[in-house]
Symmetry: D2
Subunit: 390 residues, 4 copies
């Protein structure tokens, strides 16, 4: 960062962020990568923060150490010092600003889901490719040590061929299971596209692709159990919720595996339960974001009387990313460091002009996840299996 | 049992069992109910055991204390002392012997799934109703203390209205995840009807109905990942597996809830994982057969800073059935006692001429579960949602 | 058993039981061993049950299928058909009847703790040895599959040399953590000798010896936190509790290991928590009676990035005892089967005239456990480490 | 911090750190408190880092953003801009520099254990009190949300009176369970005072005092199972380990409770297992640092059939400290933030001239913990209970 931890060994690169909700986690991520990957190949510098409320954005910009703030995204796009455009706004605000930023030659980071639908996502991907800039979709969970490690176990063959995969993201978003919780932008299709499917499910879908491969077809069902919410805390005026709060699907992967997918905001007791289970011909793994430092692993050819799920603490120096974090502490890696790792990966790919994949998620990955989400939504309407376009 | 624990206070009733695989668990169940529900209203007496191998059935009959044995099921049906006909043979042998027994006026118990398909199951239900005998399908897991308790929590309203329900039965049947494991009758549609769907899934489907209600429609997918198996241990000759080893489905319940269903034999590491999760408007419950003495319960209106899943040991004298078992021991209730409770329930309904439902499962429940299974199979073929007939 | 499961292939041997509290579990154990170890080398026959209340003992004797009942233990000792004398009375009633039975030439089983103190236990051991009969102390937990398996892992060297061992038995006995729970014989030294130390702790001490070896010295502390209890449910009259409800100790084993010991009735939330952890130079194991079908195993030389505790379901055909029980079921082995295994072991040693040890616990083991308990109690009084006599 | 996150609203205060092992966590803590407690009442400014190796300390100072570095602690003490002296050196280097800093009028933070023995710790406490400066011992685990919450549950009476308390710190320090792991300063009494007792145990002892109160007497046992280690990785030259690698103790609290204490470096499989269990007359709590975001709570007066341990995710906005962290994320709080909270507490007490206690640990708390550690060590030598001086 422009100052703070680390001495400026490496060239700086200017960052502009649009939106300061999840944008806050990005701001910390950009700053912290200088700390945990010291020295980074490029040092991110927080140039400007943009948001709708002039007052709000000014306050947050100061707090996080940005040099300036804007209340219009167009200003952020015009700012010459902003070299990386990091879009942390709601999905409805993803395409236009991101495409403008691409056309202005900025490097692109965009939060998930990439857009409200695949069509919009496609325009973003096309714009980024036309502009020949780097582009990343914010699938930060790929960068958890346990998830990266899970992928390693699969690709190295320890689990054999995966034939069955479950992924679910179940939670309550701090109160969405309560009908008196007021309406938010996530509850309306105009801003969010989809509901739990977009907010939570998109991560579960990306992990399916990250760990098992492309999805061939889906059959889903969506419901909106809480159909209206107060317009504000305690208000008796109600607004309509027009997105799913629960979506489920069966999936068939191109390579033959079956899959189950779930996303819900109404699963009381689940705090932040991004879960996957991958069953292979040689073994099984299980992951749960609520205990993100652990991976459960079953190896089929273990000694028969000692076979059982191993609860592997993914906190040792032999585990992905952990060399730079606090190893062998109870919990030395928290949720927010997934952004640190993710944004560092972006910086490194920029500095060395490397492709982001297969570990990092490009806009193409964001687009493909949207194709699957659109297919699930279509399937829920038509009550038929829907092929995911290749 | 004809003698043994308990003195014969109550009238005896003769039991004949067809098949001695799961039939072994039934034999113990009939015997043990005199012990745990002392004195029972009727005392079951093990009259005869029938099986194909004369030698085998003789040995087992002696071992379990039956008075005689038969190598043809017709002999069992003809035996006048057999008042309860307990069919523990594979599904292909369910309809004909059971219908004959009904026509001979015997009371009917039949293992799950009730038949290879709903059509056959319907003929059994019709025969039982025509004969005006009691009939029970062997959904023994309803009789686990934690499962009965789960139903109580739902029906008394502690969880509010259930909007999302997951049930899965994942396992490996002691080796089915190994392609070198030899073929069994469960691997062939002629004897079994379906594969994992019938063997395991039928329980998960029954629990969905038991806990949440009727299923309106389903969309499923089945696969046979291990397509052939040795005809015998170590043999190089292979036989074709023509049933599913993994089946998944999305479900819509009539009352509006969504559901996910899974059954697989290929889930290495899962030993006997019959799992359900019920999410309601006021709380959540989770159950896992591998820890059948526990139920996890989340209550939404708990004090906010103390909200969390309670791991309730369902082993106290206030819990269903436990008054008669060993309370407050680590594990004083095992899998096999589900049969004890189930068969005792049958005996009590017989003695008092009470309906088996809603706790006990009649042939109608067995038939309705088959309708859902047929619908899942059809859906997998047609790639469309399929309505379950009312 | 005299009737019931199994045909009488083997010679019968008559059993007499004194007391029908834990005696109930013994009655079932004697009966069930014919079922699970079929055919047994000797078939136990329930001859007579003795207890103080004529009416009570008659009812229970009938229920469990004993041929007769007595209200004086002397009658049981005099009964010629009683070949095995199984003492399930409180510790104060262990020495005299057991010694009389020994002198009458009966084979001896006695519940734990063997007596109220080591001196009394010694007289019982001496009498049994003089009479040259078999003698067993009821340390049934040795016969849990997971515990026997734990011992195997230690003796075969998988864990290396054990340097640290923790054993605890924490519970609440269905209500002892409630001061309004009425007084029982366990709460008074005259009948029980010690409190939680005797009732629960004796098992934890035996497992220490069973798994690690002899204890050299101890330093303990005992407390009676609930000092009086109602004489009956709801009564305002109180009786004094003069035994410990919580006892802890540090231990030094002869082979050099350190150990921690705990026993308490006042540990609310713990239902039946007999726990041990054994830390060796090559690995670690953990056991918990509340999940008695599982053993957690850590192997130090596992692949570094896959090292973690394995939760081993001790339910497979390769695990001790499981061949004869329901393998690969969620929970096919319950607490009460520890008695089945234990009593079968006794029967087998009788039939083949083999020594009970090292798996079975003789009166010598019962006596040695008492020496340790006495040493802990002395240490609590003197506030010094106390050597355990060799 | 001098720059970085946050704008400088508040007055700055200069920080000097001695040592850069755990000092690294302190450096991050000082920096991050401006982020999570924005704006802090005083803004820490990293002035100088001191360490023995000139080269090493220069590199680290640059990396963490210190203005300068020293290779002698005396220089740090003389630096006028250093207002807070934060001692992160081994215990042997605690007294002299800290006392010198006190005499120079600096505010004092010192890592745990406060010294090698109580006598030295006392001199530090006296010097701090003479100098009338603030002084804090680095018992950072008090500042975990779950631990602070545990204290709240106890002090508000939810658990009733605590009668039994267990605390243990079991681990392996990333390799200490391996005899080929080379010798470190923690393995020698000259630098460390005690071994596992000091390194790990001191935290478990502090939590006992923090949660239950003063300890009256102890009886302990220490062992050194690995008696020598290579002087360097792979070397055949060995050096003697003269401190405990395993220490256990029984404790009696002044208020009457019993306690068990454990500390070991040789508990393979335990990564960082700081554990406590507090059993009270009304309920029980359990904590485990390996899952530091959870607290298990049992409430005795819960509805009887719903009684069970609640696994409370201590991640909500109603939980201590969590308002400022990422609430309702799987794991939004990691080990290192305990330092952030701790150092912020120090800053706030400085800014408002408030006492640190009872939440923060002063040198008096550090001294009292040393008294208990000395008593345990003495008890291990004398084989008697030892009173802890008042």
């Amino acid at each position: 960062m422009s100052a703070g931890v680390g001495n400026k060994k490496s060239k700086e690169i200017g960052v502009g962020i649009l939106g300061y909700s999840i944008g806050k986690a990005h701001a910390y991520g950009w700053q912290d990568l200088s700390r945990y990957f010291y020295p980074p190949k490029l040092t991110p510098k927080l140039i400007a923060l943009a948001g709708r409320s002039k007052e709000g954005v000014e306050h947050e910009a100061k707090r996080f150490g940005f040099e300036r703030s804007y209340s219009k995204w167009e200003e952020l796009v015009r700012d010459k010092e902003v070299e990386i455009f990091d879009n942390c706004a709601p999905p409805s605000l993803h395409p236009e600003p991101t495409i403008a930023a691409a056309e202005a030659g900025k490097q692109l980071v965009c939060e998930k889901p990439l857009a409200r639908n695949a069509k919009d996502a496609r325009t973003m991907l096309d714009a980024a490719e036309r502009a020949r800039v780097k582009h990343m979709t914010g699938f930060n969970y790929r960068f958890l040590p346990a998830v990266t490690f899970a992928r390693k176990l699969i690709t190295e063959g320890t689990l054999g061929k995966i034939h069955y995969f479950k992924s679910a993201y179940l939670g309550y978003n701090g109160g969405f299971d309560d009908p008196s919780y007021p309406i938010k932008w996530m509850h309306q299709s105009e801003t969010a596209g989809y509901g739990a499917l977009a907010d939570l499910g998109t991560h579960a879908i990306d992990l399916a692709r990250f760990l098992v491969g492309e999805v061939a077809s889906v059959s889903g069902a969506s419901e909106t159990f809480i159909k209206e919410r107060p317009v504000a805390q305690g208000s008796s005026e109600k607004a309509r919720v027009d997105v799913d709060d629960t979506t489920i699907a069966c999936m068939r992967f191109r390579e033959g595996a079956l899959g189950v997918f779930e996303a819900s905001w109404l699963t009381s007791g689940r705090v932040d339960y991004l879960r996957f289970e991958a069953y292979g011909t040689m073994g099984t793994i299980r992951f749960n974001l609520e205990r993100l430092n652990e991976l459960e692993v079953f190896i089929r050819d273990d000694r028969a009387d000692l076979a059982g799920f191993r609860r592997v603490p993914v906190v040792g120096k032999d585990h992905p990313y952990m060399k730079t974090f606090w190893t062998n502490q109870g919990i030395g890696f928290a949720w927010q460091y997934s952004f640190t790792n993710e944004l560092h990966h972006f910086i490194e790919c920029l500095a060395e002009d490397k492709p982001l994949g297969p570990i990092g998620a490009t806009f193409e990955d964001g687009y493909k996840a949207m194709l699957i989400m659109d297919a699930i939504a279509e399937s829920s309407r038509t009550e038929k299996w829907v092929r995911v376009p290749e």
